[in-house]
Amino acid sequence: MSFLAPLFLAAAAAVSLPILFHLIRRTPRGRQIFSSLMFLQPSPPRLTKKKRLENWPLLLLRVLALVLLALAFARPFLRGASEADRDALLGRSTVVLIDTSASMRRAGVWEDAMQQANELIDEAGPGDRLAVFAFDRDVRELVTFEQWSQAPPDDRAALAREAVDDLSPSWRATDLGAALVRASDTLEELAVARGRDKAMGPRRVVLISDAQHGATTDALRGYDWRKDVTLELATVASERAGNASAQWVRHDDSAEDKALRLRVTNAPGSATEQFELRWRRAGEADDEPDPITSTVYVPPGESRVVKAPPAAMRDSTSGGASGGKIVRVEVAGDDHDFDNDAWRAAPQARRATVVYIGGEDANDPTQGLFFLQRAYPTTERLNVRVEAVRGEVALTLDGPFAPGSGPGGAQNSPVEMVVVTEPMNEAQVKTLRAFVEKGHTALVVLSDDAVATTAAQLLGLEDLSTEPVAPPQDALLVGIDFDHPVFAPLAEAQFSDFSKVRFARYHRVDMESIEAKMPKSRALARFDTAGDDPALIEAPLGRGHVVILTSTWRQRDSQLALSTKFVPMMLALLERSMGVVETTDTYHVGDRVPLVARAGEGEAARDDAKTKKDDATEGTVDGKDRRDEESTDQSNGSRVDEARLTVTAPDGRTFKLGPGATHFDQADMPGVYAVNSEDATDPPWRFAVNLDPRESDVTPVSADLFESLGVTLDRDDPEAAAAEAKRQADLLAVELEQQHKIWRWLIVAALAVLGVETWLAGRYSRLPAAPSAAPDAAVSTGTT
């Protein structure tokens, strides 16, 4: 028999009290008056002699009651009844977390990790529970506790080892925090499943990782790590600390200097300071005899931004777009080569034509065309031509803009948007309507009432009543819907001041008549005049939109063209009309690469885009591009429609995507991926996938970081281990004791004994007092 609280047994010593009380002579009731107590000392109570113990039965009962109480409080339990359970109770529960991030590819690190994992698996005893998780950006459960428990004890190690042997390091980044949280949660689920108040062996997480500085631990912040779950660090490290990496620096389209820029970062512990950069063109082999090289000097722990050498830039054949065919830069000279390549997809300029229906002189700055032509600068990614069409010519809007229908021919430059400033005939309207319904945008500028008729026809309304208004004071834009793609680029506080855009003239449009027919139409902006006349109206038509500007940007009507808002708005309208997400953005391994958003799926795509925006932590992808994507995501995939896409990975693997695919998720290695549509009419679109730059920060973190995040570390402290073992043994004892509950019976027995004692004592007290009892009245007081 064991005791849960053996200290209470000491209370059994209290049995000496009743014995003592029985030995003590009854205190004399008498008082003795005395002249002075000056010379008296208190006397200890005198005991009767041992053989004069009185009331033996009472004494025995009292002693028995005390002993029973002491035993009950000591909470006895019988050990040994469930030794078999004991192992199960006290077996260790271990989650082995194996880091498979790209940094584990360093020489020797992975082998070391595998060895540690196998040792852990071999260590597991029959009572232990083991789960093996692998993690990089995501956590993958290789062997769960359930699988482990269900497997026969002899096969468990083999099961885990098999799962571990299949592992290989990926190219992904490290989310250490999420992995630890997942492991802790798994252990917690195990404890909850077993019962929170029950004894449980030590629970620990063994982290087999290089614990690099670049690993994300955000998930641990605010996570309540349980104190009894310990983290054991099985850190694997490379002997060589030096590492250099390269990332592209976002190119600014409007910058004068078109040279490519690359940020080269050197790890803090690096012994090397000078690196060679090899600028490689597409299709160039690694052993190219004469690569374009440059040298960069980066002190350890710092980074430098370098420009592509002129030789690399000279290679350019893309009409002014910078960078030419450079697709990869290799950093040579550091210790680890897993992150030496920075990939880049050679930019492909997108050509587009904006058809301007209006007979104006392109060189007249008082007219609208003058400004529209200048609103679309030629950039690396976009090459826009503005074609003016006047008179009642037949419009050909499908495919490349037909030569002859306007000034100059345009090869390979599809019409993407139409701006209407003059009335059109019915055939033209019909063509335009079909164009819009495919997903494009037509901007109707109400330069006079006649254009309103065209707008009505285009929208399928019987009539659109308009009324020219020239407010006494210039009108300003109010109620601007900054959530709309047209205004979204201007939503930030520093851009959203429209108070300098004044409108002298506009046409009052009966918004209600449009809404009556087209309930989804809405005013994107209104004038601050009485009646809140709409300034910019959007009406969906088919998969596209008709946008009506109730004023114009001609100088006599408004200052819109002169304001800074004009170019972003026009660009936003065009990009929305073009509809395809096409970007030379660099993605990281494991990112979802957005391909196209179809009509009706805009919201989902926007959610994805927002999620990505939250994930964005590095400056290589800036906010503006996100918004671009967002806006294009929301518009319709007019070009790729239902086309099936094929993605070719850098290593030659091909992924066929179904018709509904909006993202490509299998970007699992760095390099340039090519996206081909099935009909192969367009040249392949390429995107580059690079290593997450944080993965290059391979400096090991100290264990203190985990402690600062609230994680309980297993410090190999024998005292702590002993304390933990004792705690578990105590828990087990508590559990056994709670099963047996012997103390209840002891308390009942003690109460029974006390009952008998009370009865007996009552009986004794009713008996006449013994003649020998207490002759204390004999002392005379002596006072007179």
């Binding site: 002579r25 205190t27 004399p28 008498g30 008082r31 003795q32 008056i33 005395f34 002249s35 002075s36 107590l37 000056m38 010379f39 008296l40 000392q41 208190p42 006397s43 200890p44 109570p45 005198r46 002759p775 204390d776 004999a778 002392v779 005379s780 002596g782 006072t783 007179t784």
Partner: protein
């Protein structure tokens, strides 16, 4: 005097049932048993009984007549008062002698009776207070018969009753009445009253202190010494109950202090030896203090016949007379 010392050397609590006969007294010299005496209600009657019995015995005493007359001749020296020259002797012997006589004035005696609560204890059927009052009354009566002036002071922690020393008709009666009056005394504090007495009694005389002296004696020496220094003769009658001396209780009990009311659980069998040692020690200290100051100390257990106390008083006076003449502390005067 040898009887004195013999009596003092005896164990304090070992008081003989039959006291020692007086030196020179016959076998039929009976002493009155205090218990019997105390049955007499009137204090004055008690006092008379004692004094008259004593006087009867005194006739056989060799010390009759303490009113001393001629003591000695002394050679005249320069500066002596010529009035005291014995001219007749000069006529006979042609030498100058000074004739010296003992002063035979009336004695001024103050009886200081302790009336504190501790005196109300008694195990012999009467209390120490009753015994002390009887002793005081006896002394007053005796001194009155000698035509000496007697005064009375009763005190506890301060002086409560004060009758100045007088010899006049009715004064004895007043003393008796005062002694019979009950007094609710409080704690014994010798220091305060003694200091006050020293201030009040300015004329030289005799001071008889009747007390159980159950108080810390640290200041006793100082104040008694002060009184002595003012020229007062002091006799201390230490009234003690036999139970205090022997502590012969046989049952454990809660002992209650009469003065403070505090209680203490005491088992006499255990504590007796220690108590007796301490009490004896206390008495010895008091005695030593008195010895040091030239004060006569008489221990009076309450079961001791009062005549012996009276005899002690007289012998102390006598010895004091001899001592004082030797020390010259008493005023000598030549009667013309």
């Amino acid at each position: 005097m040898s009887t004195d010392s013999a009596q003092h050397d005896a164990p304090a609590y070992d008081v003989p049932a039959a006291p020692d006969p007086l030196p020179g007294a016959g076998a039929n010299f009976d002493l009155i048993d205090p218990a019997t005496l105390m049955r007499i209600k009137g204090l004055e009657v008690r006092a008379r009984a004692i004094v008259e019995g004593f006087m009867t015995g005194l006739h056989r005493s060799p010390y009759h007549g303490f009113s001393v007359e001629f003591t000695e001749y002394r050679q005249y020296t320069d500066g002596d008062d010529l009035r005291y020259l014995d001219w007749r002797l000069y006529a006979r012997s042609d030498r100058y002698y000074i004739k010296r006589f003992e002063d035979e004035t009336n004695l001024r005696c103050h009886v200081l009776l302790d009336a504190s609560k501790s005196m109300t204890f008694g195990s012999t059927g009467y209390t120490k207070a009753e015994y002390g009052a009887t002793l005081a009354a006896t002394l007053a009566y005796f001194l009155s018969t000698q035509r000496d002036a007697v005064g009375l002071m009763r005190f506890d922690d301060q002086i409560r009753d004060y009758l100045p020393a007088r010899f006049r008709p009715g004064h004895l009666r007043r003393i008796m009445v005062a002694l019979e009056r009950p007094l609710e005394g409080k704690v014994t504090d010798l220091a305060g009253p003694l200091q006050r007495v020293a201030e009040m009694v300015t004329k030289r005389g005799l001071l008889v202190l009747v007390s159980d002296l159950l108080a810390p004696i640290e200041k006793l020496e100082e104040h008694l010494g002060y009184i002595r220094g003012r020229g007062q003769e002091v006799i201390v009658f230490h009234v003690l109950d036999p139970a205090e001396l022997s502590f012969d209780f046989d049952q454990p009990a809660l002992f209650e202090d009469v003065e403070s009311g505090k209680t203490l659980y005491v088992d006499p069998d255990i504590i007796r030896k220690q108590y007796v040692d301490q009490f004896t020690d206390h008495i010895a200290q008091v005695e030593a203090t008195c010895e040091k100051l030239g004060i006569d100390y008489e221990r009076c257990p309450t079961d001791r016949p009062l005549e012996l106390a009276l005899f002690d008083f007289l012998s102390a006076r006598l010895s004091k007379g001899v001592k004082s003449s030797r020390t010259g502390s008493r005023k000598a005067r030549v009667q013309a």
